[in-house]
Symmetry: C2
Subunit: 340 residues, 2 copies
């Protein structure tokens, strides 16, 4: 097999007896070429196996048609469908995804370096801890950014996020309506903006019902951390009526720990609510009461906003907050007062 050199527009032009410009125009949508040359060019291009070189095109058009997606490995493993959905949506808009994964803040500078050199058209960041300074840099480089699942209206960036306030209100209201009196909050790590938001909202909503000084324990969003932290806590405290977990994975960890080691009956001995709506949450064994994040809308909104910003760089930053779906499972004890 002969190592064949790549076919360029010049090669096609020569072969087809036209100019390189003509070839270029044939492969550029919306440019006027006569039917005759178009056919001639397409025919020879096809015969020679010509494909326009995207890199050369990027260089001259100053548009890479690539979007950097920055995702923490934790986020990817918790919401694996986000990536494929983002990719699909972006792909429909003619953008390719250049992937960056991060473990917490580690390596952020490095990623930002890469982003400048690759001249991406835009950035979608999931669970990346961008501070003000980072966002300023993006602005200075004219790279539009959409922060996914982060509510930060003050920042000069577009954001899209789930309505945690509303979702957690629904969960808390449900627990209150079912006569739960004592609570435990299992928060995500303080390094996570989403975790902090969910925790604070939960505290506020409980306070709205006159419940204060709610104990808080911290996990890292994982099943194991939930089991460990919960086990430690119950060994030194009395069991709460209900646990409000920052996410489903930890809620499931709590349920398993309660069942396996404390021999508790969930929900009769203790209620548990989660947040996210991951698939195991709906499995028979758990049937978690939770709020399902509107993934499809979130990803679609993120992409739409980014494209809008790319095409219209001067449009002002926008924040979209989408509501999740309250899912009534069987992890909350159905203890209702008389109806009034």
């Amino acid at each position: 097999m002969v190592k064949q050199k790549r076919v360029t527009s010049y090669d096609v032009a020569r072969e087809a007896g036209v100019s390189q410009s003509a070839v270029s125009r044939v492969f550029r949508p919306g440019f006027s070429v006569s039917k005759k040359t178009r056919e001639k060019v397409l025919k020879t291009a096809n015969e020679m196996g010509y494909r326009p070189n995207a890199i050369a095109r990027m260089l001259i058009t100053q548009q890479s048609s690539m979007v950097a997606v920055i995702i923490s490995s934790r986020a990817n493993e918790n919401y694996p469908e986000v990536l494929s959905q983002l990719n699909k949506n972006l792909s429909d808009k003619g953008k390719r995804v250049l992937l960056f994964t991060l473990d917490d803040t580690e390596g952020l500078d490095d990623v930002m370096e890469q982003i400048w050199t690759f001249q991406v058209d835009g950035v979608i960041a999931l669970a990346a801890h961008f501070d003000h300074n980072n966002l300023e840099q993006f602005a200075r480089h004219n790279v539009p950014v959409v922060l996914y699942n982060r509510h930060a209206p003050e920042a000069n960036a577009n954001t899209v996020s789930c309505n945690h306030d509303k979702g957690i209100k629904q969960l808390v209201d449900k627990l209150i309506a079912t006569q739960h009196k004592t609570f435990l909050i299992l928060s995500g790590p303080t390094s996570s903006d989403v975790a902090n938001e969910r925790r604070e909202v939960a505290i506020t909503k409980l306070a709205g019902h006159g419940i204060t000084d709610v104990p808080i324990i911290y996990g890292d969003y994982s099943y194991d951390s939930a089991r460990n932290e919960f086990a430690k806590w119950v060994s030194e405290n009395t069991l709460p009526d209900a646990v409000i977990s920052a996410n489903d994975a930890m809620a499931i960890g709590i349920i398993d720990e309660a069942r396996e080691n404390l021999k508790l009956d969930i929900p009769n001995d203790m209620s548990v609510v989660g947040f996210d709506g991951i698939s195991p949450a709906s499995w028979f064994t758990y049937q978690l009461t939770t709020v399902k994040q509107p993934m499809e809308q979130l990803t679609k909104a993120a992409v739409d906003m980014l494209i809008e910003r790319i095409e219209n760089p001067d449009s002002s930053p926008e924040s979209r907050v989408l509501s999740g779906t309250f899912i009534e499972g069987k992890s909350v004890k159905a203890r209702t007062r008389q109806r009034d």
Copy 2:
């Protein structure tokens, strides 16, 4: 804020009073530049915020430093850690990931088009149904390919995969040793190479113990499909002693269906084994007996092989098969004969 034009090597050169070549060399490792100019250039480059333009570099060097990772959304959702691990490994080798997600065969041609135009240095394909023709095309374009989790020694491509033969042998041997007599195989979809391999290996291994004509049902790797297909099957057949599921997600589906609707005690009424070693498999409620895929080694091997092929295009294709870890859970009835 002024929309600032991008800083090029010429700008830096002018400002630093050197030639563009000098600037270029400073940013290319292993090129000889005097200490004096290097410092001068780095200083002005820094002041001006210069970053080499990766796209221009790609064009001239004919090396995109990008690797296409093609993953089906199903694969990504089942093994979300694969993507981050591949990305991390590739990133260590100075390669960036250009992501393509596919739903089954749909869109493969389109992806291949993109791959040519983007001049990627190589391709890692997970669960993509490349046929001989596809692989030929890659070879003709001199794009090295590594097929992940596919055993295809005949193909002119590198492959890395888990040792299904060994893993399934361990599972079957375990079931046989524990006196299981009747079996049901829950296969993945016939469109999946891995599913076909696992199914055929299971049949062979059972046959090795004199067990033939094992009934087979088909799911799509998902929890729900397993529940549905299993429910349908048991309504018309007698319960087997053990179900051999093509993956953990379906094994869990079977367990839940058996527990919820058939009121069975797993493993006492029926044993279930899976394959993959996903996290829910180890959760208290399931504690599945399964074979854990050696993800870290698989991803590392895939990347190493790809880099090897990129750096040394004439090296011959290689297939690596890595063994998984047998995990003894509690989903197999521990019914042992007298020890002999």
